[in-house]
Structures are given as C-alpha cells and as structure tokens.
Symmetry: D2
Subunit: 389 residues, 4 copies
Amino acid sequence: MSQAKKKVRVGMIGYKFMGKAHSHAYRDLPFYFDLDVEPVMQAVVGRNEEGVKAAADKMGWASYETDWRKLIERDDIDVIDIGSPNNTHAEIAIAAAEAGKHIICEKPLSLNVEEAVRMRDAANKAGIVHMICHNYRFVPAIQYAKKLISEGRLGQIYHVRTRYLQDWIMDPQFPLVWRLRKDVCGSGTHGDLMAHSIDLARFLVGEFVEVSGMMETFIKKRPLGEMSGGLNAEISDTEYGEVDVDDAVAFMARFDNGAMGVFEASRFAKGNRNGNNFEINGSKGSIRWDMQDMNNLQLYLEEDEAGSQGFRTISCTEQEHPYAGAYWPAGHIIGYEHTFINILHAFMQGIAEGRSPAPNFDDGVRNQIVLEAVEQSANSRQWVKIPIL
Amino acid sequence: MSQAKKKVRVGMIGYKFMGKAHSHAYRDLPFYFDLDVEPVMQAVVGRNEEGVKAAADKMGWASYETDWRKLIERDDIDVIDIGSPNNTHAEIAIAAAEAGKHIICEKPLSLNVEEAVRMRDAANKAGIVHMICHNYRFVPAIQYAKKLISEGRLGQIYHVRTRYLQDWIMDPQFPLVWRLRKDVCGSGTHGDLMAHSIDLARFLVGEFVEVSGMMETFIKKRPLGEMSGGLNAEISDTEYGEVDVDDAVAFMARFDNGAMGVFEASRFAKGNRNGNNFEINGSKGSIRWDMQDMNNLQLYLEEDEAGSQGFRTISCTEQEHPYAGAYWPAGHIIGYEHTFINILHAFMQGIAEGRSPAPNFDDGVRNQIVLEAVEQSANSRQWVKIPIL
Amino acid sequence: MSQAKKKVRVGMIGYKFMGKAHSHAYRDLPFYFDLDVEPVMQAVVGRNEEGVKAAADKMGWASYETDWRKLIERDDIDVIDIGSPNNTHAEIAIAAAEAGKHIICEKPLSLNVEEAVRMRDAANKAGIVHMICHNYRFVPAIQYAKKLISEGRLGQIYHVRTRYLQDWIMDPQFPLVWRLRKDVCGSGTHGDLMAHSIDLARFLVGEFVEVSGMMETFIKKRPLGEMSGGLNAEISDTEYGEVDVDDAVAFMARFDNGAMGVFEASRFAKGNRNGNNFEINGSKGSIRWDMQDMNNLQLYLEEDEAGSQGFRTISCTEQEHPYAGAYWPAGHIIGYEHTFINILHAFMQGIAEGRSPAPNFDDGVRNQIVLEAVEQSANSRQWVKIPIL
Amino acid sequence: MSQAKKKVRVGMIGYKFMGKAHSHAYRDLPFYFDLDVEPVMQAVVGRNEEGVKAAADKMGWASYETDWRKLIERDDIDVIDIGSPNNTHAEIAIAAAEAGKHIICEKPLSLNVEEAVRMRDAANKAGIVHMICHNYRFVPAIQYAKKLISEGRLGQIYHVRTRYLQDWIMDPQFPLVWRLRKDVCGSGTHGDLMAHSIDLARFLVGEFVEVSGMMETFIKKRPLGEMSGGLNAEISDTEYGEVDVDDAVAFMARFDNGAMGVFEASRFAKGNRNGNNFEINGSKGSIRWDMQDMNNLQLYLEEDEAGSQGFRTISCTEQEHPYAGAYWPAGHIIGYEHTFINILHAFMQGIAEGRSPAPNFDDGVRNQIVLEAVEQSANSRQWVKIPIL
C-alpha cells in the first residue's frame, strides 16, 4: 500500500547533532505512523566529503553533496531540511523557497529579524510548505497541555515562568566553538535555549506584548580551537578569543492576555544537563513540565474536591495523549528523539495537505522578534514593546 | 540551674498568625535548647480586650495590654516583639528603642526605606539588641547551605533564582483585607513574600547592586469586609474597594559578586500553597531548596566522580545541620514552626551576649532598599541602582 | 476559662527519646487545641535521680520519682504514660490499671502476646481509659487516607505494601544497646519498626488472617557497652555479646477482606534514616505515603478523566485534613513531633469522654499477635494463621 | 565499509507488542552503533497472512512466512528471534537450535523448568549463540548500577526489594486474553513481570538460595473474547472462562551472599502503568531505580561527607554510562525502546564473537527455576530451596 503513496524526497543540510536527530526521525517516522506521504532520505549535505559520506552511509541517506547549492538544484529533492549553523539559514532557505522546495529549518530561524522576515516572505511568495523545528512543542505532554489550556481547563492565564538550564560550557578552558560566536549564531544561550522557551510560551500562553531583559557573559575570553563546534575540538594553549555572545539571559514579559512571564536560560547552571522546564498558572489550574522528565505532566485543577487538591503526575503515554498512542503501551516512556519524529510527522502531513503547520516561518519571525527585543532591552536597560512585522 | 539564669521578659504586640508563631516558639525554646538566658512570656498586646485576653490565656502569656504604649512603659518588660501590621512597626520600634527595650520585629521592617532607616538609627543609638524576623534563614537546610557556600563548596556564584508562590487570594470575592491595603502594608506580595526571597539571597549570595522589576495587580477591586485581616471576615456584597498593592512581582538583579538573580513572587499561582523555593548555581556546585520540603537540601557537587554526579537529597535532620541536633533523630522531620524557635534562639543568645545577630535592623534597611528599588523600577520601567544608606 | 476544666494529672515513666516526644506533646497540646480537660505535667520517673531531675526541670514536669511504683501510689496522678523499655510495660501497666490510672503505653505493647492479653484484660477490668502510642496513625495525611478509604474512594482493597527502613546500627562497632537485646525488647526491628507498619495496615486495610515471615540478623556479635540504649554509650574494645534480635524482617500476609500484604522493615537499609512508607491499591484508586514527606499524601483516583489520571500530591495541611487545621495555614508543614500532640489529643478527649480511642490495648494485643505470628512463621518456615484472642 | 561486514539475517516470529519492539530495534541498531556484523531484517512470521504481510511492510521486513517451521528451513536465515506466546518457545527454539540458527527468545524462556532445560541443552549442543530478552538489564542506569556493585561501591549487599506493578486488567470485564491462560503462558503476572525482577536481582545481587511465595487471582472469571491477546478483543457478554493464572505474586528470598530479598508483582495496582522499580542496600551504599524514570539512578554512598550524605539523582545519559554515549548529549533522555536496541547490540556482538552474552539460556533456566520454586512454595505454603540444574 505504501508504494502507492506520494514520495517526499528529503535533502538535509548538516549532519552533526541536529542532522543525527532529523535523520533518525525520518528513519523511524513510517515505522510508527501511517503517513499520507512517504518520506525518502534522498541526500545529505556537508562540507567535508569524508565526513558527509560516512554520515550518509551510517544514517541511511541515499546520496550526499558537499555544496548545499547543488542540493537545491537537484530536481529529485522535494524538501530542504536545514540544520547548518544559524548564519546560513537565511541564504539557504530563500534559495530553497525560490526553487520551490518545502523547508523545515532548525531554530532560531535566523541571525536577526530582518533575515527572518525575508525568509518568511520568500516562503510565502513561493507557496511552499515551511516549518521551524521547535521540537519541544511535540512532546505528548506539551500537546496535551495545549489541549487543556485551549479547552479553558486552566482558566485565565496569570503566569508563565520558564527555565532552560545547561552546564556544558562552564569550564573556562572550554574552547570558543561556533555556538559561542555571534557572527555564526547571532546569540548564545538566547537563540539556542531561550528560543525554545519563547516558542513554548507563544504556543501555550499567547503573544508577547513587551519585554525587559538582561544578558550576561561570565567567561569573556576562551581558547581558540578548531571551530567545528564539537566538544572535542583541539584547544589552543596560547590563543584566546573574545566570547561575544551571552552565557545567560533572563527577561520579564507581559502577554496580550494580561499574563506575566519570567524567563531564564543559562549554560552556567551547574548540575543542570538539559533542564528545560516551566510552570503556568491560571485562574482554575496550573501545569508544570520538565524536559528531563518529559513524559510526565503535572496538572493541578481547582475543580478537584477540597482536601484532595494537588498536582497530579500524569504519564502522558496513553491513547489520550497526542502522538503517544503510536509508540508503546501506557507507562512505557519515550525520549528526546521522539520529539523529532512527531514534528516531522506534522511536517509530512502538512506537505500532504498543502499547508504549513505551526510552528512555521511566521512563528519563526515572531520568535526572532521577541529574541531581538530582549537583546535590545538588555542593551537599552528599558522595556521594549514587541512590534508586529 | 535554669533558675540562676537571667530572665528576659518579653512583651509581644499582635496575637494573630505571627503572634501565634512567636508565642509557640517562646514556649518551646527552653524545651529544646539550653539558653544562656531564660525567656519569660510576660505580656501580650491586642486592641480587642476580649481577644487578647483569650489569646494570653491560651498561648501562655502572663498578662495582657490593649495599648502597646502601656507595654513599653512597663519596667517588667525587656523585649518588645512586634507582630502588628507593617504600618505600626516604625512608631512602636522607635518608642521601644528609646525605652531601652530589645526588639525583634516582623518583616518587612517598615512601609518604606525612610522609616526603616529611622528604626535602625534609633536602635543603634539606644544600643539595644535588635533583629528582624526573617525566619527562613533559620531552617537547618538553609543554615547548612550557608555553611557550604561560605566554605566555597559551590565556587563562584553565577545564578540565584527564587520563587515564592501562593494562591490564597485568587478568588475575586476574597475581601480587601489589610494585607491588600497599601496604607497598612506598604506593598502586597512584594513585602509579604518577596521580602523573604530578598533576605535569603542576601544571606546566601551577596548584596544587590541593581534591579529591574515589574508588578501586577490582577484583581483590581475587591469586596470590602471587616479589615481584620482574617480569611473569615464578613464580606460586603455591595461595596468594593480598590486593591492598591501588587498581586505579583518579579525582578532581575545583579549582585556585587557578579551573580545574576531572577526573582518572582505571587499570590496568584494556583496550586502553590506556600511554594517558597530557590536554586543557586556556582562554578563548582549548586543547591536547590523548597520550603514545602524544608528539611531537604538538594546539593550538586562537581567534585563527585564523573558518571556519579547528581543532585543529592540531604535530609538536614542530623547533628551536622545547624539547630537540627536539638530536635529529633536523623530522618524525623521538623516543620514551619521550628524556624521561629531557631530565630528566637539566636535572638536570646544575642541578648545574652549583647550583640544583634543577623538579620537585624541593618538587614531590614537593606531589604527595604531592595524592595523600594524594585518598586521604583516597576514604575520607571528602568533599572535602578541599589544605594547604600 | 481553662481553669474550669477538669485537670488530668500525668505521670510519665522514661525520659529519653519517647519521654522527650511525649513531654513536648503535653506541653504543646493546650496551645494548639481546645481540650475538654486540662493535662498537667505532674511527675516524671527515671531510675537515675540526677538525670530525671534535670529532665523534669528542662521538660517542665512538676516533680520526679526514681521508682515507678511510687508514681502509681501517688493519688495526685490520673494518667500513667509508659515510655520505658518494652520488658517493663506489662508490670507497670497492670499495676497502673489496678490503681485505677488511665494509661498510654509506648509500642510494642509488650514482649509477647501473653503479656499483652494480661495488660488488656487488666485495663478492661479496671475500666480505665487506655491507648497504645502508634503515633503515625495521627499524621493528618494518614487520618485523611483513612477517611478516603472508609468512604470507599479506593474501592475494594487489593494490596498493601509497607517498608520501614533505617540504617543507624549498620556499623559493626555499634554496641549491643538495649534495643538489640531480646530480654529487654522482645524483638529488634520487628517490634520497633514493623509494629508501626502492622498498625497502619490494620488501621487502613483490615485485620490480618495469615502471615509468612522471615527474619535476619546480619551482625551477630556486637561490642558490649553501657546498656543504657544511648547512641553514645561507651563501647568495649574487647568484650562482644550476641545479638539475639532481628536486624531485618519481612512478611507476606492475607487480610480478612481478601487483600494481599507485603511488609518489610530493616535497620540495615543504608541511606534510609527513617523511611517509613507504604502504598495501598484498591479497585478504584491508590494511595502512597512516606513519613519523611509526611505532610503529603499521594492519591490516585480512577474517576479522574481519562488522559488526566495520575497520582496527586496533596499537602495535607488544610482545614479538610484532620488535626491540620489546628496548626498553620495551608502549605506550612508540620513534623514528627506533631504526631504525638495529635495522639495525646485523642487520649485526653478519650479521658474526657470515658472511652478508650483506637489504637488502644485491644489494638496492642492484635498487633502483638501479628508480630508473634510472623516470628513463629520465621521459625517454622510455614504460614501461620492469626488467632483471635 | 559496512558492506564489508558479515550479514546476520534475522527471522522473527511474532509481530505484536514484542515484535514491534524488536523490529524497531533492528532498524535503529546500525544507526546508533558501529557493529561488527550487519543485521538484516530478512523475514517475519505470523499465522495470519494479511496481518503479517502488513506488519512486514510497515516494520521493514524483507519477507514473511505464516509457518515458523518454514522460517527455520530457510537457509537465508541466521537468527531466529522468538516473540510468540510462551507455550511455543520450547518447540521453536529446539528446532531452531537443531537447524543451527542463533536464537534470541522473549522471556519467560518457557512454560516450565523442564522445557527450559531442554532448550538450553539443545542450544549448547548445537553450539549456537543464544540469549533471553531481559531487556531491562540493558538500561544504561542498570548497567551502571552493575558496574558500581561489581566494583564494591555498595559493599556487602544486605537487601534487595523489587516491585513490578501494572493496572491494565483490573476491570472485571477485561477479557480472558492469552496472557491470562495458563496453557499459553505458564503463569500470569509471575512469568510476565516477576521474571524481569528475578533477572534484575540475579544480575545485580546474586543467585537465589531459597524462596517463599504467595500468589493471588483477584478476578476468577472473565468474559471470553477473541484470544488474540489484544486489548481491543471483542468481548462476550454471556460466556465466562476461569482465570487460571495469578493476578499478583509476592515472595521472600535468601541469596547466596546472605542478602535478603522481597519481591512483588501485580497487575492490580491501580495507578501504576508500568511501575518496575527496586532498591538495593549494601554496607556502604544503596541504589534505587524506577523504569518509569529509567534514565535516572538514585545512588547513596556512605563515603560522602557527614552532613552531605543523601541519594543522588544521576541522569545516566552521559559517556560514562554504558550504551548512553551512542545516543544524545547528556540530559537528553532515551526511552523504553532503547532497551531493545541495547540488548540486540549485545546479541549481535555475541554473534560476531561466537559467544552467548548474558542473559542467555542458562540465565533463562535459572530464572525459570526461581519462578517455579515460587509457584511451588505458593502451593506448599513452605520455603523451597533453589536447585541447580
């Protein structure tokens, strides 16, 4: 039967951390879900031929290229999946859109709002299907939280507070990798981690109205090493470069529905390996969630009987929880990689139906606007209104 | 033997929530600790004679007064314990100091910095022993955390983030009690809850350098009721008054040692009855603590062997944990009320030794300065530097 | 007003760990509760005059005796509170009953069933009010659990599983204190810890029908020291004595309502300071509780909407939770010592009303029968039916 | 490069729950790991042609058969993977061994010890590579626990206590599926869940010496339905069949190293979807683990400084944790399905090296002996010694 389905031939750019996550997801997607189209792992792109060849072989891509422009020129490619460094997103995406390819792009969408708007406009003009890869939206517990909030189960939302904490660059001898260079990334923790928290807040709470932020760089100079971005890059003993991105960022916010937000992200929170968590409080209930315990949703409902009120730990591994039913019986947990399977499921269904599911480039633009407003606020030391572009 | 000890005769003003907590602590103090002085529950003050008489009887006070001025005039009183509403603190404390009485005063110290400075100066001029009742400092887990940080076990502190969340005034029909009136309280959640978080941050992290804050009042009008402050006050169906204090407050901060702080307090966080918690991250380790699980300290130490690193849950109920040894065997937890026993222990020892243990009125002034700076910042929408007064 | 109440004059035997817990509870009882009688701390008994005198002074007893028989002879004593070692309970209790004194006795009630039955019969014959001090029944979360189960909220009970784990005697050099001697205690972990678990199961689940048990003594010889039972007893380098009680015990059980039970207690469970916890599963719901987190009850209700089912963490610190309303506002936790205040509240009300609240000596007998049956089973290596005596 | 590797052609029998888990694992195995051989998904077997054809197509098997005998006859098959009901294991495995196929077989190995011994002897005689699929051994946290215990970090083991709790058959109208029929399964909860706990205890603690058990069937008659084993089988309104397997089982045990064990498994533990957890206590430390939080290991080490002792929550997602390094960066969790990838990794490496990694059929025999001894004990109501066969 599946042979009758329309094939969607994917070309992916970048094969490191995100490339691995996306590759795996394409591979597992038809195993778990009945899609209306059939994804085909057609080609992968990397600048280093030896590396990309080995990656293609290991991860199951039918071919490889060393130049992304070649990929876009190929007419056996329907989708461009962008996982290369942030400073390449705009050029690739615009070229891909102009070539009529559907696009899924890693976050943050771009280095700045101006790029993001151009990407979105190019995508819309071309009429392609586009998404930005905010994978955490696709955790079953998050999707279920969205459902509860949409149904009004939490009532009017008063508060959202998020934390995204890591600790992998705390060693002052950790080198100046590409994720610590503004020209490559746009920002540090802000675009890498905070972008996810902003997306979850937009998904679950509403649109930002104004923000006031602060940013810190605790280690201001780091050894120069191979700029490959790997943790194992060779480190220079003698040469140091300036870290021009943030190690940590925090901001306060107001939302269009009157909610108040407190956000914090850091790579200097010792002991937090990937501590992405939040709490949302409404007039009728609250939820809490933590990525390191991603299958569970904590839910408090005021409607529970007095004396028996409390946060419930819901294992979102049941038929009622979006996406969860495709995997294992209740109580058998899934992990990080499944967030990518789920988002690619949404993307493929979007292609089948000719629409761009959220989060798409419009969400990418709005996210980038908030990111940039926080940065402006950190510089101006004042509140910044969120424009609508 | 205890009969040979110098008696310290206490007069307490206010007999509601804080009055109950202090009374209990005076009562239990000599049971658990060998003090160098002997506290005597000499007199309690309340405006309602019937109420204060019953309270004296029930809580074990030898006498009562209906006018605090009478108490200060009595020469059988050595200590004035102030638990009346915030707008009375300054007048009482200054009069008490001038009468040579030692003072322990509930937090926040005053309605504003100006009052706080006058109180501190009066206390210092009179040479009395003074403290402000930031009881959470005296949780054994917090005292132990202080010890670890002082010894450098966490290294350089990068982050502190605190939350103090409650949910008891979320019903729009909850009346306009005194805790919701600026003329009585100075502020709402800010002085009531955030003052505690500020104190813990000053205790564990360092002095504030600058802050940027926001404040919200979600329910702007409330039914007028008996202004006694009780949850059971009779509520007016027809008359509403304006809420002129904050329901929620958040702020960002920088500390003198370069640490970055994110603070939030709210009475609109459904499901959080008394959720007072924080996390501190340093270059070598981190701690986490939550008042609803107050006996436990979460400790992460980088020095632990690779592969075996993780937050430890330490039950701070052992001989090594300050104050804990006076109570029960390891693993047998204590509760909220013990924080008052411990702080009164410090206060009594201060009187015995003729010094004012921290947190004293100087801490109260500094706390009030931060509170006021946050409020200024929320109004000016800009960062505010913390002055030293 | 309280002066009009009938005084209940208490004489307490033993002033160490349990003596401290009981003394504190008598002291705090009238502070928190409005009783129908007025407890008076009349006299305390200890064999060592210097020790008992100091204890009386410190803990607030009006007088002391060095011979418990003297206490029973005194006509200014209404209640005998027995906290001396287990091998003294029967003689004291029977004498006290014959003298018409009300009795509260520490658990386990006696060294064996025969003694327990004699105690119960003497108490009943004398018509006195009697209780056994299974204090954990009086945790608000446990009382609330009892209410839920009684109302049928959990449906038919299928399972109870309990663990009571400690680790304080794991050092082989820990001396042969009285708690490790069969002639003084009757048993080791079994009577000390398991007796509590048996009581909770009887309270919450039902009566035992049959048991199959095992007992272990991991360290078979220990240094002889001062037999006072203290952790700080001087230890002999050269003399060792045999440990003739169990270090750990486990048993399986069937209940009269068809439920199945699995029980374990140990003093050799490293890292567990006072890990007293259980789970109960019924056809409609389940509960979990842990003494180290004693204020919280975990509750699962099948009636919750599909997709939103999960264990709720209920902070049993609210008006709806038995005893909790007498203490602090919701979310402000209480601790170990409050279990004794609550049970003494029940005892005093029993005296006021002329009845023996559960758990009384009848419960003590039934508990002892189960304890003894488990021990028989461990010896015979077969199941043992629970007789009704 | 991989094309140079020796191909290992797998034929799998059964395509439901376990078939899905194994299929996925074969599919993902070469993506994550560099194996010394190359697994090939050659053929899948199911009795229903339509069903097995669809499964082969969806899960990625190159061909299918409707008779397992055909599979064994095929000379393009190197490995037989047995996931069919328990009563088919012995016949299939013995035929496969005689045909010289390597075997991985789902647990429990067989209906009884006699079958298990025949399977093991046939496998050994044939010199094939064999394993039993106790996948939980291959959770990184469990592998790391094994390493800690082997290194003596916990000292002498005193206690192991396990629970494996589910709740999916509590509805009395749930039909009499094959997992509830003794002729198909051998036992109920016992072989399904308890077999896992026995394996983990054997892996981490040691060999069993004697056991004393009990078994319960709470719902004794159930509606007859399609016996396919599915949760969605059509249910008969009128016909009921007898449940002849256990709903719950518990047993106590002694181990060869003197440790004491308490085990419980149930399908009647409301609220526990897949609650597979244990605690092990040794003279120097303890561990705790729970499958629903499978990435975390709780570790207590006595060697930690006094005052700072406590259970650490270790996220076993780091390079130091076996298998974890192949997946995602630290703190990015994996799930249930990865346990199968890991065990198949071990199996493939065993084939490459010509040895049968533990757990193999010898472990299956020993597991079955313990299972059978518990069942004997439940019947005889006495302790049963564990023979060595």
